[in-house]
């Protein structure tokens, strides 16, 4: 198996409404990624694009539209897709391109412009539900996540005021992130007193609607060593989907994340994840999701994630910093771009180039994870310096 490294990264600002078109956002991130490792588009053998529902940007066959903005013009260019998990699937798909020996370099781009869906992208989510058995009830995405959060809380007796700490932590972390859309110092009371969206989910439990793009450059070992002194290796990849009959699953535990994590850990030779992994970027579009995913990633035992949070283990200065970037809750959540933003955060942290966000202790092994669809997909990448 060929070793594949991340050698460059680019990220746009995340905002609610940006003037740039989806193409231009993709271009900005891709250009920055190439510049960061002093490469030109002509050095790139192939391009992969990750972007979530076409309904957001309001473009049928969105991958086709993004071709030129992503640098895919007249190149082998392919789009991949697992809903909200797409961002972390992106480096995985790019990894296949290079690890297979077919290509030496791959530009991985992720873009989302959710504000195009007017008046609110939530409307675009109606059609993710089964058209016969669920859509006639006019469900919304917030419902099903609140349903999952409730089940998670009931199982372990978790309290809302404890879960709210995730928002406090991540929004604070985001204050040091240059791309952040919603950084800030808030309190648990702010979260609990924010508008009720769908109990148990309040306004500040949810990540915002965002526009943004991210990109990375992948290279095979012989190229990576030439391009940079600090390649960050992709050592493990994993992904899995659970059944679409989501009402028949017990939502308290994300089996799909565990299956994906075990696949990635096996490839990376990780036997004790909670000891061998120094830093994590679990997907946190909702507060409870960070905890749910920490459990699925086997970074703690089931039912212990809240205690970990209360003990400060997941703080930037803790033993296992989680979402040091500020996560989807703080930096913003342009779906596919968020997943790749998390990959970029681990990349920077392992290179000790995360500036004010740098976690102490010279981390050498990190994991990024995303999730999506009808609460059914897990995508996991293990990276090492």
């Amino acid at each position: 198996m060929r070793r594949v490294a991340i050698v460059g990264a680019g990220l746009t600002k995340f905002y609610r409404n940006v003037q740039e078109t989806p193409k231009e956002l993709a271009y900005e991130a891709a250009k920055m990624a190439l510049d960061s490792c002093e490469m030109k588009l002509s050095d790139i053998d192939c391009v992969v694009i990750g972007t979530a529902p076409d309904a957001f940007d309001g473009l049928h066959m969105k991958g086709e539209y993004l071709t030129d903005g992503s640098g895919g013009y007249r190149k082998p260019y392919m789009r991949h897709y697992v809903g909200g998990g797409t961002g972390v699937l992106s480096p995985i798909h790019g990894w296949f391109h290079v690890a297979s020996g077919m290509f030496d370099t791959c530009l991985v781009v992720a873009e989302e412009k959710m504000s195009s869906a007017y008046p609110h992208p939530a409307g675009a989510f109606l059609t993710i539900f089964d058209h016969t058995t669920e859509q006639p009830l006019y469900p919304t995405l917030i419902w099903i996540f609140a349903i999952e959060m409730n089940r998670f809380m009931t199982t372990y007796g978790y309290r809302k005021e404890d879960i709210a700490l995730v928002a406090v932590k991540n929004k604070k972390n985001a204050m040091d992130h240059p791309s952040a859309q919603l950084p800030g110092e808030i309190t648990v009371e702010d979260v609990l007193n924010s508008e009720i969206m769908a109990w148990p989910v309040n306004r500040l439990d949810i990540s915002p609607t965002s526009d943004g793009a991210a990109a990375i450059v992948l290279a095979a070992e012989h190229v990576a060593r030439r391009v940079t002194e600090k390649p960050i290796w992709i050592d493990g990849v994993g992904w899995a989907l659970d059944t679409a009959y989501w009402c028949t699953r017990d939502l308290y535990y994300p089996d799909y994340v565990e299956v994906a994590a075990r696949m990635a850990y096996k490839m990376a030779g990780i036997k004790e994840p909670s000891k061998e992994i120094h830093i994590a970027e679990p997907y946190d579009p909702f507060t409870y999701k960070e905890l749910h995913h920490i459990e699925g990633l086997l970074l703690c035992k089931r039912g212990e994630s809240v205690q970990m949070l209360l003990d400060g283990v997941t703080q930037r200065t803790g033993n296992l910093p989680c979402c040091p970037s500020g996560g989807a809750l703080g930096v913003g959540n342009p779906i596919a771009a968020t997943g790749l933003m998390k990959i970029i955060e681990i990349f920077l942290q392992l290179r000790e180039e995360a500036g004010k966000r740098q976690v102490p202790g010279k981390p050498t092994c990190g994991v990024a994870q995303a999730w999506g669809d009808l609460m059914q997909v897990g995508t996991v990448v293990v990276m090492r310096s």
Binding site: A9, V18, T132, Y138, T154, W199, Y245
Partner: protein, 176 residues
């Protein structure tokens, strides 16, 4: 290569919704007019036909012995065709639920004006295998008094109004 404020500052230009609405920033509108007519197939077809009859039907897999709702022609876990049709009850228990102040477009309900929050739930249907739930709505109940394990029963539309849809059940309500 630390990503700095100066690197990302010019990558995206922030707009306010107001600037777009007032035409200060030009924009293009497009309302897609997309229509679909989905073929439901034999499993969901029968499910809908029975809903019109005021009954709920499931299908059984004789390998894993699950009685599955909604019914399906094949068992996704055993990877084999399912076996007999089984009528299940129109009662069940609440597995998990939510008290929603928003509609499907994230539009806010006028809760202060007296509008009742929407209370969707996963309901495990009696007669189906444990854990076999469907998404539906709860009503005729205080939203804040719903609990896991609460027993509920379907409230059907009158026979002449039923069309063969999941909405032939208006909602589920608690039973004592």
């Amino acid at each position: 290569m630390e990503i700095m404020e100066k690197d990302v500052a010019k990558t995206a230009t922030k707009l306010k919704t107001q600037q777009i609405l007032e035409g200060k920033v030009l924009s293009v509108k497009w309302e897609p007019n997309l229509k679909y007519a989905w073929d439901n197939g034999p499993a969901l077809g029968r499910y809908l036909a029975e809903l019109k009859n005021g009954r709920i039907i499931a299908k059984k897999c004789n390998k894993c012995h699950r009685i599955m709702i909604p019914p399906r022609m094949f068992c996704e876990l055993c990877w084999r065709p399912t076996d007999e049709w089984v009528f299940v009850k129109d009662t069940g228990i609440v597995n998990t639920w939510v008290v929603s102040y928003v509609d499907w477009k994230a539009g806010r309900l006028d809760i202060k004006g007296g509008v009742r929050p929407i209370t969707p739930a996963v309901i495990e249907i009696d007669g189906a295998s444990k854990g076999m739930g469907i998404l539906h709505l709860l009503d005729e109940v205080d939203p804040w008094k719903i609990y896991r394990g609460m027993r509920v029963k379907a409230v059907w539309k009158p026979a002449e109004e039923r069309i063969g849809a999941i909405t032939d059940i208006k909602y589920f309500k608690p039973i004592e």
